[in-house]
Symmetry: C2
Subunit: 524 residues, 2 copies
Amino acid sequence: MEVFGDNSCPAPLFGFGTHPEVSPPFPPVTVDLLPAKNGEEPTMQFLLEVVDILTNYVKKTFDRSTKVLDFHHPHQLLEGMEGFNLELSDQPESLEQILVDCRDTLKYGVRTGHPRFFNQLSSGLDIIGLAGEWLTSTANTNMFTYEIAPVFVLMEQLTLKKMREMIGWPGGEGDGLFSPGGAISNMYSVMIARYKYFPEVKTKGMSAAPRLVLFTSEHSHYSIKKAGAALGFGTDNVILLSTDERGRVIPADLEAKIIEAKQKGYVPLFVNATAGSTVYGAFDPISEIADICEKYNLWLHVDGAWGGGLLMSRKHRHKLNGIERANSVTWNPHKMMGAPLQCSAILVREKGILAGCNSMCAGYLFQPDKQYDVTYDTGDKAIQCGRHVDIFKFWLMWKAKGTVGFEQHIDKCLDLSQYLYNKIKNREGYQMVFDGVPQHTNVCFWYNPPSLRGMPDGEERREKLHRVAPKIKAMMMESGTTMVGYQPQGNKVNFFRMVISNPAVTQSDIDFLIDEIERLGHDL
Amino acid sequence: MEVFGDNSCPAPLFGFGTHPEVSPPFPPVTVDLLPAKNGEEPTMQFLLEVVDILTNYVKKTFDRSTKVLDFHHPHQLLEGMEGFNLELSDQPESLEQILVDCRDTLKYGVRTGHPRFFNQLSSGLDIIGLAGEWLTSTANTNMFTYEIAPVFVLMEQLTLKKMREMIGWPGGEGDGLFSPGGAISNMYSVMIARYKYFPEVKTKGMSAAPRLVLFTSEHSHYSIKKAGAALGFGTDNVILLSTDERGRVIPADLEAKIIEAKQKGYVPLFVNATAGSTVYGAFDPISEIADICEKYNLWLHVDGAWGGGLLMSRKHRHKLNGIERANSVTWNPHKMMGAPLQCSAILVREKGILAGCNSMCAGYLFQPDKQYDVTYDTGDKAIQCGRHVDIFKFWLMWKAKGTVGFEQHIDKCLDLSQYLYNKIKNREGYQMVFDGVPQHTNVCFWYNPPSLRGMPDGEERREKLHRVAPKIKAMMMESGTTMVGYQPQGNKVNFFRMVISNPAVTQSDIDFLIDEIERLGHDL
C-alpha cells in the first residue's frame, strides 16, 4: 500500500513561537492533547492559541483598511505558498505547523464578513451567531433524537413555531425542520406536495402517478429544477413562468400554463412563488398566485430563502402578503438575517405530512420504548439521518437581538440599498436593469465606461458591455478591495447585482463600491 | 401583529459577574459588539467569555467524574429550568444572560465526547477537529465557488483524491463531494447510477425509464429506502437481500433476486453493499457482490459510512476487499475517524458524472467568464446550492495525525471492542447476538438479569428480555453515568449494541459499562 510510508512516528520539533501569553515548554505533538494523560494543559494552551488567531481574524474582518481577499489562482495555491502546503501525508505535523496552517487558511481565504464584501446573499459575521457556532461545534451532537440533543431539539421546535407565527399560520401550528440549505428545503417542498396528492409514490414510485408538472418563475432559483430532476419529475416537467419587467411572475401566465398542461393531459401539482428572487430581488404576487392555486387545487410553496427575512419588518413584510396561504415556505436565516452558514428552514402548514412522507421507522434509532415522550425524536421526518445542529446560533441571535433587532437590521439594509439606488439611478455612466425602487436589497445595474457612452446601441456595444462587469470584477478581486456579483439574465448582458445583508455596511461602503467601479472601469 | 411588542428598546442592566480575567465596566447590550463603533474591545471580551465556557466544557467532557448527561424530560425543559428559558421574545436579552444561556445549553445537553458515551456511531471530541470547526465558523463561507472558498475548495479536492487512493481507484482518479451526511451521500449514489444508465430521466422524469429496482441488505441503513422513496423509485422497488447469521449479504440471494426481478420484467439498476452495518457492524462480501454486478451490468455502491474508516488500517482494510471495484462509495469521517459532525463524502469512480447528473448552470453563480479556471467551481455538481464547509476540520486532523494517526485510532478502537467481546462472551448473564469476533467495533449482546436466567426459552421470556435493555438504558440516562444503544432486529428482541469510535475510551470504561449494566439490571 503506497499510501502509507514508514510507520515509525518521530516526534517533530515543536515550539509555539513568541506568543506572549503562553509560556514554554510545550508538548511536541498532537498526541499530547486530550485525551492524553496530562493532556488538559496543552489542550487549553492550544485552543487559546487558535482563539487568538480567530479573534485577530475577526478584528481584521471589520477593519476597512484590510483587504477583502488576497487573491491567488488555484495553481498558485496548489503549488504551495511559503510554508503552506495543502498536501496530506502519512506522518503527523507539529502543533506549531497546525497553527500556521490555521493562519494561512484564513490568510488566503475571503473575508465574507468584511463591510465591502457584497458578493453573495449571505454576508456579514454576527458575533453572537459566531459564538453560537463555536458552542455548537463543541457540543458536537446530532439532531435526530431528543436523547442526544434535548436542548437543541426543543430550541428548533420553539423557533420554528415562532417562524410560523411570523408567516401567519394560525397559532403558529404546523411542522418544519432546519435543512442543509435552501435547495434542500425547496426539494422537501416538492417531495411533500407529491406525498400529499399521490402518497402511493412513496412505495410504488413515480409510475403510480400521472405525468406531474411543477410551475416556477423563469427568475426563480435553480434548485426547483434540480429538485425536479432529482425526484424523478424531469426538468421538462418544471414549467417556467413569464415575469414582468421587474422579474415578478405574471399570474395570468400561470393560469394559462396550468390550463395548457391540463389540456395536454398532464397533472399540475405544485407552484413555487419566489419571495425575493436571487438576481432581481423580486417578490412574486403571492396572493394572486394563491387564488389560482386554490382554484386548481395545487400545492403552493413560497421560496423565501432570500426574502423571508422581510417578515421580521413591519415596514417591508407586506411584500410577502399572501404567504399565510402557502402550504410550505423556505426561509434561510443565513441570508437576510445574518445567521452564520448554514441555517435554512422548511416550514409546512400541515402537521404530520413531513413524517408521513419520509419516515422509515428505523428501529436502532427511533425506539418506541424509550423513557421519554418519543414524539420529540424528529429525525425520521428528515431525508437525512444525522443532521447538523443549525438551530443554536440562530436561537441565540434571536435571544440577543429580539425580534426588534432583526427588524432594525432588515430595515437598515433596505434603506442602504435605496441609498445606492438613489445615488446611481441618474448618475452618468450607470443604467438600471429595471426601473423603480428595488423590492429587496438587490440593485441591478450596468456600468458604461466612457468609451461606450457615445456608442449607438447594437450588437457591438452589447458585446463590449457584456465584458465590462467581468473585467471590473477580476480587477476588484486582484486588488482585493471589494467584491460584488454579476451575471447575464435572459437576453440581458452581464450586469452587476449589488446585495446588502451585512449589518456592518454603511453609506461610505456603498460610496466606496461606486468609486471603485469607476476607478477600475473608467478606461475599459 | 402580535409577535412584536413595544418597539422601544431599553438597555438591560448588565454585568459579567466575577470572572477574574475581565475587568468592568462592560457595555450593556449586544448592539455594542462589532460592527458597532468602538465595538472591538467588548467583542473580544465577549468571545473570550464564551471560550472560557467552552474550554471548561471540554475539560469536563474528558473527566470521568462528571456525568455524561443531566437528563430532563421535554416538559421539564420547556417549562423552564432556573434561569434558563427557551422562549424567544421581541426584546433583546443582555449579554450576561446570553452567556448564562450558553452555559445552560451545555449543562442540559449530552456530552458526546465523554469516554463513557457509547450511544452513537459518532462519538468523541477531537481537539484538532474542534479547532477546525471553530475556524470554519469564523471563516463563514460557502463551498459553491472557488471565488469565495479558494482554500477550502482545494482542500476538498486533495482530500477526496487521497480518499480515492485509499479506496484503490487507479491514481486516485474520480470525483466526489462532501455532503450533509451519509443518507444524502447514499442518495447521490442512487441518483448518479440512474443518470449513468438512464440519463434522460433528468429531463423526462422516471416515466422515461422502465421499472427500475435497487438491491440492498435487510441489515443496511434505512437511507437507501429513503432515497428510493424520495427519488421516485418507490420503496417497493428497493429489494432487501437476505443475510447470514452475522448480518452479511448472501451473494447467491442477490443473484437469485436479480434473476427474479428480470423475469418479472423489471430492470435491476443498483446494488448497495454495506461496509460496516449500523447494528451488527457487518461487512458485506464486496468482491463477490462486484462479480455479480459485473455479470449483470449493475451499479455497485459501497455504503462505508461506518466502515470506510477501516481503509486507513493495514490490519483491518481487508474487510473491504473489492471496494476498488465499486462505482461509488459513501465514507463518513465523522463516524469512525472521529471528525466532528458533519463530515461525509460521496466518492465516485467516473469523472464528470456528478456534474452531468446535477448541473443546471445557474448564470448568477457559475459565470464562465471569471478570471480564474472555473473548473474549480464545484457547486453545480451538488444537489445543494450553498454547501457548508465540512472539509477543513478533517483536513486539519489529517495534517495533525497523519495517515498513521488515523490507523492507530482505528486499530485501538477495534482492539477495545475485542476486549469487550472476550470479556462478556462467556460471562454469566450475557448472550451474544451472533457468534465470533466482531468485524467492526459493534458488539451486540443481551443481558439476562438473574430472574431470567433459569427461565425456559419461550414467549414469556422473550417478552421479559425485550424489556430489559430499555429499562437499563432509562436508568443509565436518569443516573447519567453512561449511554449505550439498544434495538430489536428482525425477530430478535431488544439487545444492546455497543460501539466504540472515541479515542478517549479505555478498558476501564468498558469495565465500567459492564459493571453499570449489572448494577442497574441485576434486580430486573
